[in-house]
């Protein structure tokens, strides 16, 4: 009697443990393994170097943190078709001595395949892109960007207004598409934060 109960309990216990192990194995391994596929990050450009190239010379640069209000977020979504991030945003504002905003820059990040990229975009007082730069990408994917949008400063975006970004074709390329989307997001966020283009 006791032997049968013990055998039954033991069998159930082992089944439960095996199931838990199986689920654990299925759930954790891919997540851990995939991150290593991208290789280490490669930095193409220092942030300050990028900011110098996209914000007015001799302007006073401020690092500003604020939350995008709902109206501004809704406006950006409607006008640019991108969903601005929520929460407190950090960006850079260039002002003259009178306190007028001369330009601004924002960094946006996203996953690219199994890695990450960081794109910084600067705009002038009219909301026109002064420069956009790809700051970093993972080693394995550097070629994807070098062959399409380029690394570091990406000349194709300089001088464009947000609306003109729609003319930028990704030619079906995943890397170009990721960068163009990030540039659009950054421009929309900056426009909403600095009230340019309203």
């Amino acid at each position: 009697m006791l032997g049968n109960s013990l055998e039954t309990a033991g069998r159930h216990f082992i089944t439960a443990l095996t199931s838990a192990l199986f689920i654990f194995g299925l759930s954790s391994q891919p997540a851990l393994a995939h991150k290593g596929h991208a290789g280490p990050p490669v930095q193409f450009m220092e942030l300050k170097e990028a900011l110098k190239g996209m914000l007015p010379v001799n302007a006073k640069v401020l690092k500003r943190k604020e939350e995008l209000n709902k109206d501004a977020a809704g406006w950006a979504k409607q006008k640019y078709g991108v969903e601005p991030p929520t929460g407190i945003l950090t960006y850079f504002v260039a002002r003259n001595e009178a306190g007028q905003t001369l330009g601004a820059a924002y960094i946006t990040n996203t996953h690219y395949r199994h890695g990450d990229i960081a794109v910084v975009v600067g705009i002038d007082a009219e909301g026109r892109i002064t420069q956009a730069a790809l700051l970093n990408a993972n080693e394995k994917y550097v070629g994807d960007f070098a062959a399409t949008v380029g690394t570091g400063f990406m000349a194709r975006f300089a001088g464009l207004k947000a609306e003109e970004l729609a003319t930028q074709s990704d030619d079906g390329n995943e890397a170009a598409k990721a960068v163009i989307e990030q540039v659009r997001t950054a421009v929309a966020v900056l426009a909403a934060l600095t009230q340019t283009g309203h």
């Binding site: 990050p41 943190k65 939350e67 960094i107």
Partner: protein, 227 residues
Amino acid sequence: MMATPVDLNTLSTPWKVLISGFLVILGAGYLSAALNAALAVGLSPAAIADHYGNKRVSQEERAAIAEQGFVEEEFSLDDEPAMDEMDHGQHDMNNMEDMAAMPGMDHSQHDMADMGAMQGDDTLPPQVMAQLSHVHLLGFSFILLGIGALTCLTRLSDKTKAILVGTLFAGLLGDIASLNLTRFVTTDFSYLTIFTGTLIGVCLALMSLRILWELWGPTPTQTWDQL
């Protein structure tokens, strides 16, 4: 009270050795985890808050933003490109997911750790918190099932067993929840981490000692119904 299907005291020696070994390894694992936490993070609420808290926006900055809508500080472009001054302007839930990597998780994150300073702080990104959470929770489910099942086989009353297993469940779930709450809500939840971590230790100790006592202790003279 329903009769327990197995009397731990009457198990054969191989079963007793197996269960005892499991409990010893589990206890050693808990102590190792506590030692790792002490060395890597610290065992005080302040240390936990410092490690897991969101340092991208300080408490003072949050207060200032709530009051005046923004905070700003001068940012010199003329300095040498000091990595620790570089703060990527970005949404604090959506930035450089792997840059401030938690050591020991995988190869890419070790490499990413050097880039972490680009953010101006070492706030753990959401991806690392998700990774930490899922690995721990899946492991915890295993621990809860293992020692919980053994506790259910003891001669303790159903009420006591339910309290012990329920408390361990709450402690395990609360532990990981508290880390995420510390990261994403407020660092005050670091006190919950201390509480739940201690609770887990106490539960594991009580359950283990009781199981070991029933395995190797004196043979009970009472019947199931008398207990």
